[in-house]
């Protein structure tokens, strides 16, 4: 394909650049600046203070919650990748006939309303929810189990449910680049299924796996609705604390500092992970 050069692309891209500048870049910078401000009980005062960041370490509530949320996000992303990989694999190499149906099913679970899906798990895990009803009905338990809802596990299960179809997308698209010829060649040369999978298919689809992992890690760590609806006190996550600073608590500077510190930690984790994978020659 012949691509024209010159500067003709600029007018086409200009609206986008302006939009992103005005409503993405500048707001993010504004948020960063606010994280150094002070607040009184009524309003915000422009200033330069690090006290908001120091406050994160003043109470273990904040930093332990932050690290716990990052850990939860990490686990969720890992499980999502492990759960969605076989489906992406099957979709690429096995269900070629029924691919359309399967893709529709994935689209349904991906795009059905976010709130509704969280709420659905509330009805499943609740005290009078589906699981308890079934277990009582089968005489396995007498009293409803109360630990199902409002726990860390409930948050993790719900977020895995929400992000699995999302993780699938990049993995599926990277598997499109794995030619079936490579797999057959490996098998012809005597590799068993296990070796073919771990030495050919997975390394070749690594960019998709990493993209899926990063997406899910970033989005699930920063979630603030799921912990509120199914988390209770033990399933609390940092996103809820941040969102509260912009609502009832009204401490925007502290909320901004927490948000930026969270982003910083997440980027650090992602960077470390990529470095480790590169070291292990899993990913170039």
């Amino acid at each position: 394909m012949r691509l024209k050069s010159k500067r003709q692309h600029l007018p086409l891209l200009l609206p986008l650049y302006i939009y992103y500048l005005l409503f993405l870049v500048v707001p993010l910078i504004a948020l960063f600046i606010i994280s150094f401000w002070e607040r009184t009980s009524w309003n915000l005062i422009p200033a330069f203070t690090l006290s908001n960041y120091l406050k994160i370490f003043s109470k273990p509530v904040y930093y332990s919650l932050l690290f716990r949320s990052v850990l939860m996000g990490f686990i969720i992303a890992l499980v999502c990748v492990i759960l969605s990989y076989p489906l992406a694999y099957a979709l690429t190499f096995r269900f070629t006939k029924r691919q359309d149906v399967v893709l529709y099913l994935i689209l349904i679970s991906l795009f059905s309303s976010y709130l509704v899906r969280i709420y659905a798990w509330k009805t499943i895990l609740g005290k009078f929810g589906l699981i308890n009803q079934i277990l009582t009905y089968l005489y396995i338990i007498k009293e409803p189990l109360e630990f199902l809802l409002y726990s860390r596990t409930a948050v993790i299960v719900t977020l895995i449910f929400i992000f699995t179809p999302f993780t699938l997308l990049p993995i599926y698209s990277s598997l499109q680049n794995v030619s079936i010829d490579f797999i057959e060649a490996a098998k012809d040369l005597g590799a068993n299924n296990f070796n073919t999978l771990f030495r050919i298919t997975i390394p070749l689809s690594m960019p998709g796996i990493i993209a899926g992992f990063i997406f899910t890690f970033l989005l699930s760590t920063g979630d603030y609705v799921t912990p509120q609806l199914v988390g209770g006190t033990s399933g609390m996550m940092i996103g809820k604390v941040i969102s509260d600073q912009f609502g009832i608590v009204y401490d925007w500077p502290f909320g901004s500092a927490l948000a930026y510190f969270m982003i910083f930690i997440m980027i650090f984790v992602v960077y470390t992970l990529i470095m480790i994978l590169k070291k292990c020659k899993f990913y170039r």
Partner: protein
């Protein structure tokens, strides 16, 4: 005989991968099915087996004024978001796929970045920003915030479409004497039309459902997800199931229609 036995044994061999996929789909889809089922439940308590079928929750929902105004607001926001995201995104996609320029690959990745930014961060940063530059929160600020995450999706889909676009058709039109505008009007646009409709529907569905960012940028108005949220906070009322099902139907319709028309290359 042995041969037949072997054959039958082979056909009875458990296909673990298929079994796994079915289980995964049960995990992914059954919660949605349960909500839809409960929305027709006659009794107040969400218990199985259901007491009977009824549409009274739907009637209750449709009669409520809060629901009607929220639907209007949601549709208004979703249509404006859809229009402007397709406009800005498609122009950008043309620029990204038709011309080569410095750092093109970096730009291509950067414009998709908002998809990976936690919505919480976009929400609170826009809230602070609107507050600083003194724009009052309204449906306009909601639309602005929706555009931030809808545009990347439009670009993502349009890029994959435009990359497969056969330029020689346009050149043929020009060789046959069409000017730039005519080429666009009679050649490029008709080919692009299904993709444009599809991607507009995708943006509509994304915006219609959005809660995480809207929560911060909405002010005193209400969109449908905000109404659902308020109901969830108040405690579980069965009409939540009915509203949820209605929202599900709308977004499903748009997504599936979009996929049918344009074969969204999201996957």
């Amino acid at each position: 005989m042995i041969n037949i036995l072997r054959k039958t044994r082979k056909s009875f061999k458990v296909d673990f991968l298929a079994l796994y996929c079915i289980l995964l789909f049960i995990f992914l889809l059954s919660p949605i099915v349960i909500i839809v089922l409960f929305s027709f439940n006659a009794s107040r308590a969400g218990s199985f087996p259901m007491a009977g079928l009824s549409i009274k929750w739907y009637l209750e929902v449709i009669k409520s004024a809060a629901f009607i105004s929220a639907v209007k607001n949601s549709v208004y926001v979703a249509i404006s978001t859809s229009f402007f995201s397709v406009l800005i995104g498609t122009l950008a996609s043309f620029g990204l796929t038709r011309y080569s320029f410095k750092f093109k690959n970096v730009v291509k990745l950067l414009v998709l970045l908002p998809i990976t930014i936690p919505p919480l961060l976009i929400g609170i940063s826009l809230l602070s920003y609107f507050n600083i530059i003194k724009i009052p929160l309204s449906l306009l600020t909601v639309t602005i915030s929706h555009l931030v995450f809808c545009i990347p999706f439009v670009i993502l889909v349009m890029n994959s479409r435009l990359e497969g676009f056969n330029f020689s058709i346009e050149e043929a039109a020009k060789d046959l004497g069409a000017n730039g505008l005519q080429t666009f009007r009679y050649v490029t646009f008709p080919i692009m039309r299904p993709s444009l409709i599809g991607v507009a529907m995708l943006a509509f569905a994304l915006s219609f459902d959005e809660f995480l960012i809207t929560f911060f940028t909405i002010g005193t108005d209400n969109t449908l997800p905000l109404v659902i949220w308020a109901m969830l906070r108040r405690g579980i009322s069965p009409s939540v199931n009915a509203i949820s099902t209605l929202v599900l139907i709308v977004s499903m319709f748009f997504i599936l229609a979009a996929n049918k028309i344009a074969r969204l290359k999201l996957l």
